[in-house]
């Protein structure tokens, strides 16, 4: 039996009469790359916020990294990493200062921070930039650095919200190399993207439409099931019937 790091049962979030997330159920295995797709307004962000311990569900159950999303939000936060397209490091701090700051926030011991940050900077090939302000880095490097910082405390799961938006095709692939490496080391990857070719890199994907999960399988099985050549077409078939749209 594979270890489950996310278990979701009929998880629901209502805002007044509006059902943003409508009884979604799924499980994510340890070390899996799990793609979370959906049209704008389908409810992806709302679902992700509940799983990250930032918002209480209206009903249903979920556990993340073994912790309950109603009662143990603070433990969830300690055991996950998060990164979004919107750059979230401190632009006025240097690379090393950012690493030290976030490492400290997540309770990594100071000695450990020092050791790991040196090897991280070396691995990213950013030795000569290590003492420069992060704001001066090109977008692709920023995103790679943000990802490295998000997994610096070796979380069980990392949530990536459109991590590669606007990034050039070469850097986008370098970024996915890093995702594969993290997954191989046992970190579970939960990722949303608008690039449908990236959906193919996931072990399994879900497609959300109007708050519900309308499909969940490996990319290959989904293409078979819908008798189409690309995930783009799977997505299009599912999402074009959507009633909702939002940012």
């Amino acid at each position: 039996m594979e270890e489950k790091v996310i278990i979701c049962k009929e998880l629901t979030k209502k805002f007044g009469d509006f059902i943003a997330v409508d009884k979604i159920s799924f499980e994510v295995n340890k070390g899996e790359i799990f793609g979370f797709l959906g049209a704008n307004g389908a409810g992806k962000t709302t679902a992700m916020r509940m799983l990250c311990g930032l918002s209480f569900p209206s009903s249903g159950e979920a556990s993340v990294a073994g912790f309950n999303v109603y009662r143990q939000q603070q433990y969830i936060k300690r055991n996950i990493g998060y990164m979004s397209q919107k750059f979230s490091l401190y632009e006025d701090l240097t690379i090393l200062e950012n690493i030290r700051f976030f490492g400290g926030v997540y309770g990594v011991p100071a000695k450990e921070i020092k050791r790991r940050s040196n090897s991280l900077v070396e691995k990213l090939g950013l030795q000569s930039e290590a003492k420069k302000k992060v704001g001066d880095l090109p977008l692709g490097w920023k995103q790679k650095l943000a990802f490295s910082v998000a997994i610096f405390h070796q979380p069980k799961i990392v949530f990536l919200d459109e991590p590669t938006g606007g990034v050039d095709p070469v850097t986008r692939r370098q970024f996915w190399d890093m995702i594969y490496e993290a997954a191989a080391s046992g970190i579970t990857i939960f990722v949303t993207t608008h690039y449908m070719d990236e959906a193919e890199y996931c072990n399994r994907i879900t497609v959300m439409v109007d708050g519900k999960i309308e499909a969940l399988d490996t990319p290959q099985n989904l293409k078979k099931q819908f008798a189409v050549k690309s995930i783009d077409d799977v997505f299009y078939q599912l999402a074009r019937g959507a009633k909702r749209s939002a940012d």
Binding site: K144, P169, R173
Partner: protein, 317 residues
Amino acid sequence: MKQMKSVTLQNITKTYDKGKVLAVDDVSLTIDKGELFGLIGPDGAGKTSIFRILTTVLLADKGTATVDGFDTVKDYQAIRNRIGYMPGKFSLYQDLTVKENLSFFATLFGTSIEKNYDLIKDIYEQIKPFNNRRAGKLSGGMKQKLALCCALIHKPEVLFLDEPTTGVDVVSRREFWEMLKKLKQQGITILVSTPYMDEAVLCERIALIQNGRIMSVDTPQHIIAAYPVKLFAMRANNIYKLLSDLRKNEQVESSYPFGEYLHVTLKNGNEKDTGELRSWAEKQGHTHIEVKDIEPTIEDSFIRLMNEKKEMALPHS
């Protein structure tokens, strides 16, 4: 002859931060009247700077540019009357309703909604039910449609669309490109930018842009045809191991993930065939091997051009 050109740029250069940041680097480009032209490149490539120079809201450091025959510096007022501009960032009045925004822009350009109604009809009717909703309360897709209506209301000669589909889902993206095709039929020149390589083939001609420089300008078909070596698509039972094995193989010139396959080029690639890759992979212990010859996409061309320009030399992760 000059009349046939809708937009020209000659040696346009733009720097920021007292010359420290080179945003646009000696760009020359010509766009014909009635053309649907795409500026394709990632964030930071210089797309928005080019748009802002052409729409006369930013001065270039060097070079000259014209729009509809007018100089972007001397004749900026004439240009402003002749163009529609939809910036990447939503820039309508959030506190005005759909109808008020549209009336406002019509009035500003000395026209009315009714006068050019046929031009915006198809798009406007999709948002008309929300006429009295404030623009700030619209969904992303509806904002995009309203912004396009406002950019079109004075029947511009040239339409500038800066990343209209960024962050928009696949369904809305397809709808948007359908709208552009219809506008093109009305004779409007359209300059559109996008970071999505798959949208490039929907343009008549494209410029691939990276780090402020144009790497290639042509029709998508010609750019694809100019790909200099054979491109193979490959997969096996463990695709990640296959990729790392390919990277150790000295015969391999490049290999990278592309959807469900890896794309591979070989040194002396035009003399090689799929059989060699297959037998190599078998020797490495891979199973369920699939190898085929494929036609490159614009994204493959972009990657190749980027790698050829060694100025991109990223420290490897």
